[in-house]
Subunit: 224 residues, 2 copies
Amino acid sequence: MTSVLIVDDDRQLLRALRVNLTARDYQVLLAPDGATGLALAGRHRPDLVIVDLGLPDMDGVEVVAGIRGWSSVPVIVLSARHTEQAKVNALDAGADDYVTKPFGIEELLARIRAALRRAVAGGNEPVVRTETLTIDLAAKRVERDGATVRLTPTEWHLLEVLVRHAGKLVTHRQLLREVWGPACETEVNYLRVYLAQLRGKLETDPAHPRHLVTEPGMGYRFEP
Amino acid sequence: MTSVLIVDDDRQLLRALRVNLTARDYQVLLAPDGATGLALAGRHRPDLVIVDLGLPDMDGVEVVAGIRGWSSVPVIVLSARHTEQAKVNALDAGADDYVTKPFGIEELLARIRAALRRAVAGGNEPVVRTETLTIDLAAKRVERDGATVRLTPTEWHLLEVLVRHAGKLVTHRQLLREVWGPACETEVNYLRVYLAQLRGKLETDPAHPRHLVTEPGMGYRFEP
DNA sequence: GGGTGGCATCAAGAACACGTCAAGAACCGC
DNA sequence: GCGGTTCTTGACGTGTTCTTGATGCCACCC
C-alpha cells in the first residue's frame, strides 16, 4: 500500500487530509512537527511526504533539506505564504511541488498522484542479470544459477541500493543512510557484516567477489 | 545543453520566457499551436515541455496526452483557468505541474529546475576522456587503456579536485584545503607524495607527465 | 661555481580499514 | 510463552593506506 507522511501542526487540515487519503487507500502517517517528521521519514520510508512550511519547531524548508539529504522520496510543500521567494526556496531545497493554502483537496490529490506516478516511472529498473545472478528489483527476487536465494530484509535492502547504482561506487555513508537511516551513518561495521553475508549467498567465491566489490576507504560497488 | 519546448500562442509570454530561459543557458524551442508542438516534441526530443492550456487549435490537455503516449519527458502546464477541475484534468492527463497565470518568472524557473532535477536525477555527471584515460566522476572509476585503476581515497579525492577544474591551475592551498582540510594548508609535501602516486598509476611516463602537470611555485593542473 | 628553493622519490612506522567470527538481544510467527 | 530467524555489537588478525622525514635532482640566481 502506498504510504504518505504528513508533517503539519494544523489539526483541522490533518484530519481532512487523513480522511481523504485513507478513503483512497493510502496509508497515512502523521507528524505534528519537523523533528517527528524527519524521524518518521527515516523509520518508515514513506512513498511520499507532505510538509507544511509553518511548523512549530523548525522551518519546513529544513525538513525538506533534511529528507533530501538521504532520500529522493517525492515531497510536496504546503504553505500559506504566497511570496515567490518562499516558493523558490522550497523548490530549490528539493521539494517537488508547492501548493498554497487554501487549496482544494482534489487538486492536492491530483498533485499527489502526479508525484507518485513520476516516482514509479523513474524507479523502473526491472531485472539485472549476470552470468550466475538474476536480480528482479520489482519482484524482489534473486536467483543464483537458477535457484532462488533467500535474503533477509536488510540484506535485500542493501543489495537493492547497490544494484540501483550498478557500476557506480556507493559510499559507506550513502548505503548506511539508505538502509539503516541517517542516524546510523557511522556504523560501518554493519556494512562489513552484511556484505559478507551477501557475498556468501551470491558470490561463487566469497573471498574473491566478482560482483560485490569493495573500494577500500570509499564504499562498495555492484559490478554487473 | 538542456532544451525546453514551449507550446503557447501568447507572443508576449513567449518572448519573456525565451529571454529568461536563454539567459540561463537553456535551448528554447517555440511552438505557436498544439500540432506544431507535438511535431517538435517528436522531432527534437526536448528535455522539458511547457504547454499552455489555451491553444488555438486544440486543448492543452490533448497535447499533454499526446506527448505522454510515447514519452515521459517532464511537462509543465500553464493556464489562466483557476478551477480545480482543470488542474485535476491536466495533472491526471500526465502533466507534472500546473502553474496558473499570472505567475512570477522566478517561480516558473524554480519549478522547471525541480522538474528537470527529478528527470535527470543522477543521470548527468561528466566523464572526462583523454587518449589513455577515462575518468567517470559519478561512478568514481578511472580507466587507463581500458583497464580500471585502483585509487586510494586520498588519491581519488585529489584527482577529483583537479579534474573538476580541468585545464585550470589549482593552487597548493586550494588542493590541500579541499582534500586534507583547512588545517593542513601548509603541508605541501602531501601533494608531492600523492601527485607522484597518481602519476605512477595514470601517466604513461610518470617522469614526464602529460596530464598531471606541475606549475612550479603555484600548484598543479589537470590537462585533458 | 656555489648556494638556494622548490620538486620528485623513497622508505618505514603508525594508523586505519577490512573481513571474519561469535554471542547476545530483539523480533516474529505460532 | 516459545523456537527460530534476524539484527546488533564487540574483538581480532591481516593487509593497506597515511603520514613523516630523509635524500637527491634540477633550475635559477647570485
